[in-house]
């Protein structure tokens, strides 16, 4: 079936994006990434020694047809984000940037105002911007107008594994968006990923749930299957949950006259 996701002019057949934090070793991270079948891997610039071409983490995610999605985690405002993105473009040779501006170090909630400002500037500079945001439908429209390549609303506070806490808002974002919607943060189980994909999300991003699982490689495989299953269910059209019979026609009897 020809069901490709296109973001920033690039085609993806896998709709599972994977993060690289919190693994117990770079070797395990590498194996989990391969098992997930992902084609998009995000990594924190702050974790990489960008001047060292043999950086251990970087060497563990390079190759295998994987696109790197450097993220700006650690920056606190739009100005810092733009500087970081320019460094990342230089170092990783990609226009893709996952924009993460969370000034608050506790919950890591994204700052919507700085994120919008940075997106405007980065789009102008030719970046393919994927901003991490609150599940805010109006912000999504503003980002669209600013030239974002996709939107990445959070399902739940990052790292909580709580699943689609923002379900109602993400539903609206999916219905209204003209750019791909990648559900990010908080997906704790494969069933959560499947649920997001069944709703019509274009992709999901998972990190913690894979990295801290008992067996991260097996969990990565499970997420891959769930993401695919959810997508296929969405395309197939979900069945009817319930239907109550109606005996008379009190509302439409005027049409019988």
């Amino acid at each position: 079936m020809d069901d490709k996701l296109i973001i920033g002019g690039k085609e993806f057949t896998s709709r599972l994006f994977v993060g690289t934090g919190k693994f117990s070793s770079n070797k395990l991270m590498h194996d989990a990434i391969i098992a997930s079948g992902t084609q998009m891997v995000t990594l924190a610039m702050k974790r990489i020694d960008m001047e060292n071409p043999h950086d251990d983490m970087l060497s563990h995610v390079s190759g295998h047809g994987i696109n790197l999605l450097p993220n700006t985690s650690g920056v606190r405002d739009a100005r810092e984000a733009v500087l970081a993105a320019e460094l990342a473009r230089e170092a990783f040779g990609t226009d893709f940037i996952k924009l993460e501006i969370h000034p608050d170090p506790k919950y890591l909630f994204p700052d919507p105002i700085e994120t919008l400002k940075a997106t405007e500037e980065l789009a102008r500079l030719g970046f393919k911007v994927l901003p991490y945001i609150q599940a805010d439908p109006v912000l999504c429209k503003r980002l669209e107008e600013a030239g974002t390549a996709a939107v990445m609303p959070l399902a739940a506070p990052i790292g909580t594994n709580k699943g689609l806490v923002t379900r109602d808002l993400i539903e609206i974002i999916i219905a209204e968006s003209r750019v791909p919607v990648v559900v990010d943060a908080g997906l704790g189980a494969p069933s959560h990923a499947a649920e997001a994909m069944e709703m019509g999300a274009d992709a999901v991003l998972v990190n913690t749930a894979i990295a801290v699982a008992g067996d991260p490689v097996a969990m990565a495989r499970a997420f891959a299957k769930a993401t695919e299953a959810g997508r296929e269910a969405y395309l197939a059209g979900l069945g009817v949950q319930s239907q109550s019979a109606v005996a008379s026609s009190p509302l439409t009897s005027f049409l019988d006259l």
Partner: protein, 371 residues
Amino acid sequence: MFSEELLKYDWDATTERINSKTAADVLRALNSPNPGIEGFMALISPAADPFLEQMAARSMALTRERFGKTISMYIPMYITNSCTNSCVYCGFNCHNKFKRVILTPAQIEDECKAIKELGPFENLLIVTGENPRVAGVEYLSQALKVCRPYFSNLSIEVMPMSAEDYARLVEDGLNGVVCFQETYNRKRYNVYHPAGQKANFEWRVNGFDRMGLAGVHKIGMGVLIGLEDWKTDVTMMARHLLYLRKKYWKTRFSVNFPRMRASASGYQPNVVMTDRELAKLTFAFRIFDHDVDISVSTRELPAFRNNICRLGATSMSAGSKTEPGGYHTYPQALEQFAVSDERTPAEVADAIRRAGQEVVWKDWDKVFDVR
């Protein structure tokens, strides 16, 4: 622009797709929070006929959730029937010999006063034929300024204009623009619209983008039921609405399903839509788009309007005259089409209240339109 988007959709394939929908598709659409275009096609398909009552119930529930039990009232004011088009079904067709009227600013003011005598209307829809040379943007600008003190909300139903012209009228206090595409069937469009500016399909269909770009607050859409297969036409319109909503997300939208009425053109509709089908379409559209304003004009009979006002419709006209100067200046001039509901605004309002709905005359304030 939408003309490019429209190229993606084949007319005949769409018709076929609608007719292939099954009862299971209808049930899925009825139970989905967001049935989308596929669901909409199922709901207007023949397969939906046995589900009319369920559709009415769902449409009523969604309308109440989003609009409450209300009907917003408006009244049209025709200010000219001068027209350079030759639409085969229209009484204003330029080949139709009768005395053309272009109301002067003083006459427009008289019409405003006469309307205010009829009822506490605050939503005015200014309507013209299409004659950009003698009744173009200058004339409309002037008309808006005359009407502004009398009404809270001003809309126009006139020829499509450039984005600059729309923007200029917005400056003059224009709030909404209504434009009927009539049909989205590109191949057949010119059979009905052979001459004049209206013969340019792309100019008309892209007019909605220009309204959006100009920051028009509210955009009204419609296809004329009676030209082509209405199911295919309204599906194309639903696609158009979806496109516009995503692109011009600050804009409000309304739809209208005008059934062709008798006019001086003597034209007979190619397809006749029954009341049952119109009700079904109204329900389907509400289930498809929970927030769109659905307008039901005096083209429809009182018995239909008295019921549809609680099942999905959200705005209605009353006391309408479809000839320029009809309220005061020229009560005998030629009308664009025959109205079916000749009750006074007070009688219509009473019937709406008896159906359990609140009649809302004012739901906007001109202060929002001050630039």
